[in-house]
Subunit: 142 residues, 2 copies
Amino acid sequence: MRRAFDEARAAAGAGEVPIGAVVVKDGVIISSAHNLPRTRCDPTAHAEVLAIREAARALGNERLDGCDLWVSLEPCAMCAGAIVHARIGRLYYAAADPKGGAVAHGGRIFDQPTCLHRPEVYSGMGEDEAAQMLRDFFAARR
Amino acid sequence: MRRAFDEARAAAGAGEVPIGAVVVKDGVIISSAHNLPRTRCDPTAHAEVLAIREAARALGNERLDGCDLWVSLEPCAMCAGAIVHARIGRLYYAAADPKGGAVAHGGRIFDQPTCLHRPEVYSGMGEDEAAQMLRDFFAARR
């Protein structure tokens, strides 16, 4: 999660919402990324999507069996869907996102009876730090 | 929708699930794409995500204001989330997808009270042809 927070700080430095994500397999970091939708002109360039895409490329497989995803904020519907398609084994997220999250809020993607793959979900580790980064970012832009 | 079906057929020809998507603005096709997760080793490479990414790049804006998306199948949660982030104005899809869809089924992404942007949604045009393409594809692979 430390590395995900480093990525989140890098996002803030680039004027992007501070969210970072890391894909880990067997204790080794396969990929890490931060939010870049504005920089890349790509509405799908959330940290989780970028980290998953990079990991799939690195491992040569569209399915990330045995991989875990660490992310600083509860994933949105798009990212939760990407986690399902990638077959992520365990999802660790720091802060909850009652407005945009779709794991424990909103569409609750993994709880749908038709969901094809459900990762184990762990949350709350480092949530204060992750939430503070987001508050600082939005406060500075007001 | 004709062009989306052409893209879907191209996907089947490449051994990918036959789904195609087209982004249109002011009556002009901005981008079109088909499913390519296996070919690209990218679990996020659904037709809708690829078409949205290409359109954002082409228009130089992560927000596709005034753009419509035509797709041969009801979008999944990942693609519905991407549609929200891209601010797609109108979504037209052919066949419903009770198993994987997240517009009229599953997570019903646009119906969540916290959903930041709701496209107008139209469905059913050409649904028989779209569904038949999918049935033929999966029948041939069994």
